[in-house]
């Protein structure tokens, strides 16, 4: 079946079974391996992507569920080779260790900062509660989101409305 959607700002058309997992579609058919598979059952958040601006788990999403929609993956945040402020903040705050959970955290944090540019520490913790990290103990990640919020507020020109760094 032919499925059309927008992926990281570009129209794509793929010929896949409608029940193909979005995760496999991204990673295997389209080569975007930034989105990770952790548990495959919606418990870890490693496969978090944005669909029409809202966080979704690619492991529990079928291809047909993104038909006609806008999908944003971690690759879409650093288009043009420049890291998104959320990614810069993760480096600065040492919020990355093994890195496997990082793309999911980046996407969840991006979703949070899009709807709430001034999150409190508690709001960050709550919003990221569906993302598991077995290395960092979360402190660095929470710090990074608060730092990214500052980056984004401080210099709005750094991020265009679709989230890409110019």
């Amino acid at each position: 079946m032919s499925i059309n959607f927008r992926l990281n700002g570009r129209e794509v058309e793929v010929d896949v079974p409608p029940g193909r997992r979005l995760l496999n579609l991204l990673r295997e058919d389209l080569g975007l391996t930034g989105t990770k598979e952790g548990c495959g059952e919606g418990e870890c958040g490693a496969c978090t992507v944005l669909v029409d601006g809202r966080p979704r788990l690619a492991c529990l999403t079928a291809a047909i569920q993104v038909e006609g929609k806008e999908v944003l993956t971690v690759e879409g945040l650093s288009a043009g080779g420049k890291l998104h402020p959320m990614q810069e903040a993760l480096i600065k705050a040492a919020g990355v260790q093994c890195g496997f959970c990082t793309p999911g955290f980046v996407m969840a944090a991006y979703a949070l900062l899009s709807e709430n540019p001034h999150p409190t520490r508690q709001e960050v913790r709550e919003f990221l509660s569906g993302n598991l990290c077995r290395c960092t103990g979360y402190e660095g990640i929470v710090e990074a989101v608060l730092l990214a919020a500052k980056y984004l507020r401080g210099d709005p020109s750094r991020v265009t409305p679709d989230g890409k760094t110019p």
Binding site: V16, P17, P18, G19, R20, R21, G40, E41, G42, E43, G45, T48, R54, P55, R56, L57, C59, L60, T61, A62, I64, Q65, A108, A111, L112, E126, F127, S129, G130, N131
Partner: protein, 282 residues
């Protein structure tokens, strides 16, 4: 979606086509947060799935004078952002504990009802509000109270070919206070060990009317009506309510599973009533 390959999914054009496909043996799919996990674990293997998530007839939240009509495809997150969540604090309290943000963006309240899990957080407010489930099927539409719709763990009154079309959430009279708490090992992505929701109408410091609903302590969400009755006329004082908490512990029918033992669940069910008293008394 399955280990053996992707599930076959069809997307009906409208409600009548959806009903026809479900009557042919298709399994309804909305958010997929539970169904895809079941398929992956090969707990079930339906011949095909019928994707209802974007059917126009199942969208939308309609506010009426006496309540809200919530389309079967409305997600938890959409409900939480709606005016209904403002009108019904009990709904907001319960839905905001479901899963985590991404799960709430995907899962639907009607899906929670169709799953009929005794631990379904979304069912608690529906039992408290005495919500009704509107079904569409080959023989037309019918409506059931949620308590009659849910028959047991994973069992519902859905007949062949029927799907949930919408939920009706009546607005309660007066100004009840709302309580919801679920107990478990962590706060997110949690299946409750036990949960209690309550709507309590107070008059001069004593209970005028109370509705309670317990999750994860019986085959379905439980309304302990005897305890509700006995609350009437009493103050929300844990000391006064201690015998009632004891009674509640005796009344529930919990099981032992990997999350908790039956005796712990009994204990927690009673303590939750005391917690309700402390939380709502202020």
């Amino acid at each position: 979606m399955r280990k053996t390959g992707p599930a076959r999914i069809v997307r009906p054009r409208d409600l009548s086509e959806a009903v026809r496909l479900v009557a042919e043996g298709g399994r309804p799919l909305a958010g997929g947060t539970d169904l895809f996990v079941r398929l992956r674990r090969e707990v079930e293997d339906p011949p095909f799935l019928v994707y209802l998530g974007e059917l126009p007839e199942l969208q939308g939240i309609e506010l009426r004078e006496d309540g809200a009509v919530v389309g079967a495809a409305v997600t938890h997150a959409k409900l939480l952002r709606s005016e209904v969540a403002e009108r019904l604090p009990i709904l907001r309290l319960a839905l905001s504990t479901i899963g985590a943000p991404a799960i709430r963006e995907m899962g639907t309240l009607a899906g929670n009802v169709a799953n009929a899990s005794p631990a379904g957080d979304g069912l608690i407010p529906l039992y408290l509000l005495e919500a009704r489930v509107l079904l569409a099927g080959p023989q037309g539409e019918r409506e059931l109270p949620v308590e009659e719709f849910v028959l047991g763990p994973g069992k519902t009154a859905l007949k062949e070919g029927e799907i949930i079309r919408s939920l009706f959430l009546p607005f309660p009279e007066g100004e009840p206070r709302s309580y919801f708490r679920k107990v478990g090992r962590r706060r997110a992505l949690l299946i409750a060990v036990a949960s209690l929701g309550g709507l309590v109408w107070l008059q001069d410091g004593v209970v005028e009317q109370a509705r309670l609903a317990l999750g994860s302590v019986a085959p379905t969400v439980l309304r302990p009506r005897e305890v509700e009755q006995e609350l009437v006329g009493k103050p929300l004082d844990p000391q006064v309510l201690a015998p009632l908490a004891e009674k509640l512990s005796q009344l529930v029918q919990p099981i032992t599973d990997l999350r908790a033992s039956a005796s712990y669940r009994r204990e927690v069910a009673g303590k939750l009533l005391l917690d309700l008293a402390v939380s709502l008394a202020g």
